[in-house]
Amino acid sequence: MTINQFNTQNLNVGQKLAIKYFSVAVVLFAAQILFGLIAGLQYLQPDLFYGVLDFNVNRTVHINAMIIWMLYGFIGASYWLLEDETGISIVGIKWGHFSFWLLTVAVIIVVLVYLFIQWGPGTDATIWFINEGREYIEAPRLADIGIVICMLIFFYNVAATVSKGKVTGITGVLTLDLVALAGLYLAGMFYTTNISLDQFWWWWVIHLWVEATWEVLVGCIMAWGLITTLGASRKIVTTWLYIEVALMFGAGILGLGHHYFWIGTPEYWFTVGGLFSALEPIPLVAMVVHAVYDSGKHGFKSNNHPAMAWLIAHAFGNFFGAGVWGFMHTLPQINLYTHGTQWTASHGHLAFFGAYATIIIAMFYFAVQKWRGGVTIRGDLVDSGWKWKWSLALLNIGVMGMTIALLISGYEQSQIERAIGGSTWLGYFQAQIHPWFVEGLVWRQIMGYITALGFILLVWDLLTIGKKEPLELESKVA
């Protein structure tokens, strides 16, 4: 085992593959921020890159890069923990590598197509090769098929390894969740000429991926992280994983209804969506109890402070982004005015960052630690850990700042454009030039730069943390 330098000999077979996924995830994370900054600037200077790199393209790349880098992060995290959990080498690892390259080539092609071929009439052929036209999952159908093949290979790797190795609660839940992950994506692939029907199925991918299957994946990663960093009891953590899955599915599946308010579905979705949306934050709130219980009953010590800090950021970010920001505008009586305004963007920024980006960043730190031979990354780092602390602070301040700035713009929009303007074009333009809206977007841009700065520091830290630590620190591993 080699200490202090990146050496793949420090990693098992699955972890070597995971590093590839994490590396691409970081690149796509950079793309998300870059294209987000350009799209933000275009709000302030609408003629910027007009005809060269239009807003609709930037926005598409910004959002799709986010979805895909998080997907890479989750797949990488699953490969990372799989051999530790099952006790055997990953079955069909060659297929895993093939899948990685297939997905990566597909992503590169899709991004190039987004950037260079996004004009002209929409036809049956463009659905297959250019753009499927559904927000968040614009990838053309050919790429969709590639994504599903990759998800099925990923599922095969996990299921075959779990069936031959040790079955734990974490791997059991993970395997079942991957069935849903691959299966639900299919709902976004067929096309109907009825926009209500189309939207109905589209939300299955967006909501049920994000608020069900991804949450379960996060639950598995968190469970493994708690056992690994804090030495928490496997039995307790696994029991709580089951409880979490039950709570999440109990409220989350029919919480889907809050997306069915305004797409032409029957009126009963108002009540169903409203009721389950009101219940959705309860598990988040209730989990506060468990956090307090564990912090009071156990004297846990972590050997990876940045990872631990990002896990804590995950708990808070998930609570505020998904819970508070979600519930503020989820009931249909108010959602009528906020739906699709910058309110939604405000909620989206904090929820995606808090619930998902944070825990994947924590996984990056776990990976770096092991990749460097298992060095201890605690408070007594040679450089006192200023880079990870500042990147943590800047990323959180930046995203929180963007969230509040968008909230102000969205609040104005919901009043001027929706409530007063009655969702007319006149109302729309009046809202767009209102000082609250414009100033909100200026501050969103400033906070975007802070986020980008935090990201640069994060990458620098991931490449250097643990590099200069004295070897004797290894003996302090808890």
């Binding site: 009540t271 009101a278 934050p281 598990p283 506060v288 564990d294 009953k297 009528l336 609040y411």
Partner: protein, 104 residues
Amino acid sequence: MLQPVELKDFFITFFASGIIIVSGALYALFYAFYHLKKIAVLNYLAYVSYFVLFISVLIITQTMHLDKIWTIVVIAMLVGYFLAPRGIWHLCVATHKEKGYEQK
């Protein structure tokens, strides 16, 4: 039928909705700390937090016109946010009770 929030009630609706979740979390936090530390003031703070939640729910009941079938949502919130932390506490105690579970 759905009766949307009136313009004059926008801010109070957003604010009260956010407060429901925050006070729900504070109730859970103080409730858990009280059972952990047995300091009476924490118990009072827990119930004050729940009272804030209760008032906030009443406010959005008014502003969002949560009557008739929508009463279910009001009851679900009041009961759910009150009982969930208690249920989770009992689960915590139960899952940690068995011998050998305390640490790996």
